[in-house]
Subunit: 188 residues, 2 copies
């Protein structure tokens, strides 16, 4: 029998996954970032195929990860978690820096970043797991990283339907904070 409750017991961080495609750039909230290998350093992100950022990663072959630290407020998280990149210029709302190879990173309320070049990908139902070799990375400060647990329990954040960890039983119990607009705008 499939019980979804143990899936809610997995531990995650909180990240902004970004990419640039031509003149456009976008980023989205993600909790599913992890390291795959150490030599060479390879990381992985999991992105919904309907998201704007997905197409940008697939076309440009690059993505960046900005690691949210514990000080990040819901106002920042909301920009990347609950706004649609096709309708809203997210990077107009936050301090950012362009990496040499093109992907932007958020420089406020983040403790570090990693940029990767896509080397493989695998599709699974609604999502794609991109694997990328690290090409650039750096640390901004020594703040603790924000955890998904902190986001859910302390910030009372919710999980949109487009997220890998969406649960019909738990999501939408909380309305998104500091965001207005129709439900369709809540899918990053």
């Amino acid at each position: 029998m499939i019980d979804r409750r143990p899936l809610q017991k997995f531990t995650y961080g909180m990240y902004i996954v970004s990419a640039k495609d031509g003149d456009r750039m976008n980023g989205q909230l993600s909790n599913t970032v992890f390291q795959v290998a150490s030599e060479p350093p390879i990381i992985s992100v999991c992105v919904n195929r309907q998201n704007v950022t997905h197409g940008m990663i697939a076309r440009s072959g690059r993505f960046s990860v900005s690691i949210l630290d514990i000080t990040a407020p819901m106002e920042l998280i909301s920009v990347f978690g609950f706004r649609h990149g096709g309708e809203y210029d997210k990077f107009n709302a936050v301090p950012y820096r362009m990496l040499v190879s093109g992907a932007p990173i958020v420089t406020l309320h983040t403790n570090g970043f990693v940029e990767a070049r896509v080397m493989a990908s695998v599709e699974a139902a609604t999502h794609t797991v991109f694997l990328g070799e690290v090409v650039d990375s750096g640390v901004f400060n020594e703040e603790a990283s924000m955890t998904y647990e902190h986001y859910r329990r302390v910030l009372k954040g919710f999980t949109p339907k487009s997220a890998p960890t969406f649960s019909p039983a738990h999501a939408w119990a909380k309305e998104p904070v500091a965001v207005s607009g129709p439900p369709s705008s809540q899918e990053a």
Copy 2:
């Protein structure tokens, strides 16, 4: 420039990933377990290709994840993290249960489990990322899940060379706890 420090800022949980192949079964410590999709529920694990459990997952097409809770002591973690499955019957040392489809799960100091059928995999350098559709799952208790941060900071656990998150600068600073034997036995 590649700076490995931001990779240490990613957030992970602590899991035992297990499989059974014929009469043999094995499990290994993992921090890289995450959910890939919600409909249908799909999870992912990242396993070193040299590990005994890797071959068992590849051959059987099944794996299970036992979610370590915050009460798990180093003695339990050491069995799955620092012993070699080719030389040692790990499940002889701990309480476990067999799932219907064959993979074992650890039932002490774990708060739940998920079993999956492999639907895809992708290789990256030393490791394979296995994606699996959830076929069985359940909750044991409401203890908090153990985090990798807790393991590193509170339990003073170390990261073996075979782990995805191994860092030459940080690993082996601490000797493994409650384990004796040559270094080769420390790769699960």
